[in-house]
């Protein structure tokens, strides 16, 4: 029974990790930069969901798409104001590209944490549950109704994103830009637009993840720091820029932490991912689904 409990809990946590990591992976795939403010998109989503539901009294089922919308808009605004210089007319910045991305996303992260801390306040808020059933018992397994529904919603969102990326018009253009930005540009694809869509989508996914977990993880302004660190680990494990890799790595990490926390030590639970990361960097640096290198 404990094994089944741990497996289910690990998979559920893995699904939430995946929701976060897919966005980060997409951004890396398109822009080849790491967004250090990704955790703060998660935080903004958690607050948008919680405060809109508690302060405005709207249904959690309306607050959830609202949080998605806030995340999408935040991603779009950040891309237009802060990320666009990376690839739009700032050719002389070429050598500074990575430094710019690191500094600007770090600054954004600190800015968002502090602005929420000052405007909303530093206190924790428990987000409302999506359903009123506090505990669902399936055989020997007990799980909170919200956790189960949130996991189902997360799975639906992940499937929808995977289908959009694979089959939609813009999804195919994103894939093309991810494979070769210059080549896609020469083929007539608006790479700036593809980048904007990806950044916006990543913001939305992180925000939904934050919203879904707001009932379980009681958001505070720094709530995004931990999931962001997990996401960085997952993106490298899965293969930089690989969406399927991120999903598999998320589930593996979730289950690994769940079992390791019981059978090895709970105190070292957050180090398991980092340990695996070191092993991967030593023996399979391209990750599970990544490519060794690509030159054009």
């Amino acid at each position: 029974m404990l094994t089944l409990d741990l497996l289910i809990n690990g998979l559920i946590i893995g699904v939430f990790y995946a929701l976060m990591a897919i966005g980060l992976s997409l951004i890396f795939g398109i822009l080849k930069v790491v967004n250090f403010a990704h955790g703060e998109f998660y935080m903004v989503g958690a607050y948008a969901y919680t405060l809109s539901a508690l302060a405005l009294g709207i249904s959690p089922w309306i607050a959830l798409p609202f949080a998605l919308l806030v995340g999408l808009l935040l991603g779009l605004v950040v891309e237009r104001l802060l990320m666009r210089p990376l690839y739009s007319g700032y050719t002389s910045w070429g050598v500074m590209r990575d430094e710019y991305a690191v500094i600007v996303t770090f600054a954004l992260s600190i800015f968002l944490i502090n602005i929420v801390d000052k405007v909303v306040g530093p206190y924790a808020f428990k987000g409302p549950a999506l359903i009123g059933i506090s505990r669902i018992t399936i055989g020997p397994i007990a799980i909170s109704g919200h956790r189960l529904i949130a996991a189902i919603v997360a799975i639906v969102v992940i499937i929808a994103v995977a289908l959009i990326i694979r089959y939609s018009f813009w999804g195919r253009q994103i894939q093309a830009v991810s494979q070769n930005r210059l080549g896609a540009s020469l083929a007539g694809i608006d790479t700036a637009k593809a980048s904007a869509i990806v950044f916006s989508l990543a913001g939305g996914l992180a925000a939904v993840s934050g919203a879904l977990l707001a009932n379980i993880f009681n958001p505070t302004p720094d709530v995004g720091v931990f999931p962001a660190i997990k996401s960085y680990v997952i993106v490298v494990l899965g293969g930089m820029g690989s969406v399927p890799g991120s999903i598999v790595a998320s589930l593996v990490l979730g289950v690994l932490e769940s079992f390791g926390g019981v059978y090895i030590s709970y105190q070292y639970r957050d180090t398991f991912g980092l340990f695996i990361l070191i092993l991967f960097l030593l023996f399979r640096p391209q990750g599970l689904f990544g490519e060794k290198a690509r030159e054009v």
Binding site: L2, D117, S134, I216, P221, G261, V262, Y266, D270
Partner: protein, 403 residues
């Protein structure tokens, strides 16, 4: 004639400057958490308590005619930041004493700096015994201490007739220190109790891997030794998994978090039935100063008084009293005055132990405490059921059964 005039002028200038110095405010440094990951709930309560006390002291004419000026620094509950904050307060702001600290890890960092500069440090709420065991003459502890909580927990577990007790503690000096001390006290006072503890990362959010193994064989009591927001998440996840509170398993909150302003916004029905270690309950008798501080706090914040309000007020009043008795703001005079103080504060008569070994050094040993039980959602502390009064053992017959 010329010399006489110059002499008079110099004397006049000296007198003027001496008067000006006499009117200068007495600067007191305060380190508190005003942003996460530190406990902002605690930080806010301490800040309110200090401000209420400072206003009362200043309205009454200050200390020997000088006003108290509080200088706040945010530590975020992080030791490195606490160390830097105390350094800044002492060297740049020239404070005469430091107080306010409410998290043990930050206090342990702060006292090192205060000790180096030989500046009095009134530890408002750092519970870790290690703070006392350092034996620094500058550090005085009018607040609670881990050994006292450990004894309270062990006595309560014995009164409850518990056989299996599991504690979840945060990975801080306070959390791990208290969990270990509870083990020691249970070993001495209730040998037949099977006790173990698990350390949890206070920055983490998912505690299920630590909770799930309890489902097969739930303990009689889960002792929670964490600060918010991690404490709230743990309580919710214990309830989510049906581990506690149940008919079989009680939750005992050893951190006294039930009077935090954001408590009910974060736990809802998960906390009903929980036993709480309390350093303040409205039904506890208070000295005159305590009643005045409580009234001033209610007028200022419209909120209910809480333990940290009284601890913070006592901390500042002790500094003022040390200056008055020592007739100076010099560290040696203040320290000597504090060592021999016998003063009735907001919670009782405070004296500091001179016993140099262990947790007793410069500690007010008789800090009063109670135990109360939460009986319904959104219950104010005043309505929570007092099941153990100060100086008396817990009465199990007063406990309400968990549904």
């Amino acid at each position: 004639m010329l010399f006489r005039r110059a002499g008079l002028l110099a004397a006049g200038l000296f007198a003027f400057s001496a008067t000006a110095f006499a009117a200068d405010p007495i600067k007191v440094g305060v380190t508190i958490a005003q942003s996460p990951p530190g406990s902002v709930s605690q930080g806010t309560q301490v800040k309110d308590g200090l401000e209420v006390a400072a206003k009362m002291i200043n309205d009454a004419g200050g200390v020997d005619g000088r006003k108290i000026e509080l200088i706040f620094e945010d530590t975020q509950g992080i030791p490195e930041k606490a160390r830097a904050a105390v350094e800044k307060l002492i060297t740049r702001d020239q404070v005469v004493a430091v107080t306010g600290e409410h998290q043990s890890s930050a206090a342990l960092a702060g006292i090192e700096v205060a000790h180096r500069y030989h500046i009095p440090y009134i530890n408002t709420n750092g519970w870790s015994d290690v703070i006392r065991e350092k034996g620094y003459p500058e550090v005085f502890n009018p607040g609670n201490y881990n050994s006292r909580v450990a004894i309270a927990v062990a006595d309560t577990m014995k009164s409850l007739g518990a056989k299996n007790v599991v504690a979840f503690c945060e990975n801080t000096d306070y959390g791990v220190g208290l969990a270990k001390l509870i083990g020691v006290q249970i070993g001495e006072r209730a040998k037949d109790i099977n006790y173990k503890y698990e350390t949890l990362d206070r920055a983490s959010k998912d505690f299920l891997p630590a909770i799930l193994p309890l489902k097969a064989n739930p303990p009689d009591v889960v002792v929670e030794i964490m600060l918010p927001p991690a404490a709230y998440i743990l309580i919710n996840q214990l309830n989510e998994q049906g581990v506690a509170p149940t008919k079989k398993t009680l939750i005992y909150d050893a951190s006294g978090i039930a009077d935090y302003p954001d408590f009910w916004k974060n736990v809802s029905d998960s906390a009903v039935g929980m036993l709480v270690f309390g350093l303040y309950h409205p039904k506890m008798p208070l000295p005159e100063l305590g009643k005045k501080i409580a009234a001033a706090y209610v007028a200022k914040t419209k909120g209910d008084p809480n333990r940290l309000l009284f601890q913070a007020a006592d901390s500042l009043y002790l500094i003022a009293e040390a200056i008055k008795v020592g007739k100076s703001t010099k560290p040696d005079d203040m320290i000597k005055a504090l060592e021999n103080i016998k003063w009735t504060g907001t919670r009782g008569e405070i004296t500091f132990s001179h016993e140099k070994s262990g947790f007793k050094y410069h500690q007010w040993l008789d800090v009063p405490y109670v135990t109360f039980q939460i009986t319904k959602v959104n219950e104010p502390v005043a309505d929570m059921k007092l099941v153990q009064e100060p100086g008396k053992p817990l009465d199990p017959s007063k406990l309400e059964k968990t549904k």
